[in-house]
Symmetry: C2
Subunit: 225 residues, 2 copies
């Protein structure tokens, strides 16, 4: 899998195939990442100051810079966590058994579930796509962003592979496989742009969105019969 190594000032930090230990509840790093995700979601990366994150934590800058050496690194951490949630859930489904239609259907629903349940992280992940670290960032940080984009690309390839398998069996139809997976993910990611969790009826809303958007996504690559 992807093994990303970052020099971490404090604590040990290892990224295996599964969820990051950084995310364990009670960890100081986890609290920081959580607060950062919240702020990044509400105001975007550029318009979020480290002080904003510190405020959300009820702390000060010092706390954050003790664990993360820059704002960009903190963003990367949030992004990585968001992608880890998705990869850990989708990877087994993609490589598992079963016919392609069933597999893709499961992937769509789980992906949507993740979008709605972890929306703060998912919006940060989407921001990563539009991330412009062109200016005012070190070349080293740009390298890390490339690694994150590779991870994203791999995630998309999981969908692409299932699509290709289904096309060979005649259950899916599309021309360019890359376009097919992009279209499916475009639909699946869409709710992240507008979904706001309600206090009441929240779960009912979620299941409706999951059902309907997964149906739309499946339909977009379905073979006509």
């Amino acid at each position: 899998m992807f093994s990303v190594n970052v020099e971490i000032p404090a604590c040990e930090y290892v990224r295996g195939g599964q969820l990051n230990d950084v995310t364990e509840v009670g960890s100081a790093r986890a609290a920081i990442v959580e607060a950062a995700a919240k702020c990044f979601m509400h105001a975007g990366y550029s318009d979020t100051s480290i002080d904003d994150v510190a405020d959300d934590l009820g702390a000060t800058k010092g706390r954050i810079y003790h664990y993360y050496r820059s704002k960009a690194e903190l963003f990367f951490e949030v992004h990585r966590h968001g992608m880890a949630i998705n990869l850990d859930a989708i990877e087994p489904l993609a490589t598992g058994a079963g016919d392609p239609v069933e597999r893709l259907n499961a992937m769509c629903k789980v992906h949507l579930r993740n979008m709605l349940d972890h929306i703060v992280y998912q919006r940060v992940v989407l921001q990563g796509v539009e991330m412009h670290l062109s200016s005012s960032t070190t070349p080293k940080q740009r390298e890390k962003l490339k690694v994150l984009m590779k991870e994203r690309e791999y995630y998309e390839s999981l969908f692409r592979d299932v699509l290709l398998e289904g096309r060979e069996q005649g259950v899916f139809a599309f021309d360019n496989p890359s376009f097919g997976s992009k279209a499916v993910l475009a639909i699946l990611n869409n709710p992240v742009l507008w979904y706001k969790p309600r206090k009441t009826q929240s779960e009912k809303e979620k299941t409706q969105i999951i059902e309907e958007f997964s149906a739309l996504a499946m339909q977009s690559v379905a073979a006509k019969r």
Copy 2:
């Protein structure tokens, strides 16, 4: 249609139903808007300084602030121009004659064509959706952003209406109409996120993208037969 009134320091400024006179070639305002769109696309709103736009123009701040009283207003102008391009092209198709399948097909292709031909403006329009003017902006500016979002909503309704008409005739199938139009537009907007115009084979690439993504979009709401 939407009549937006902004106090403009110099020159007269009227927004009718059609393309803004601001965009006429030779106009000083048009050059500013063009440069701003380019910068906003490459670096995003927050990471684009007025000086950046001025540099692109080969001018200085003074020029820009002579025509636009704030950075936000300049963004609004770019956004408005982008939406005007889309509305002027799609509105006649949506309300025109013909069966829903043909109409939606035409709308999809024209929309995609606009995405690829005016990508600088379209990316700014997409940024508008994720715009967070929550902090450090006047309530008056937030009002204007709402107007822009209304315009976006109206654009989406053009697709929704055609979809509804098609569902009544049994040629389209979906559950929630709003979700249907969102899915279609999600696919149609997707190329904006990754398309980079090539020097060679540019037109061939475009037509391929247009054909395949419109097919995917149509398919996502197609009735199974």
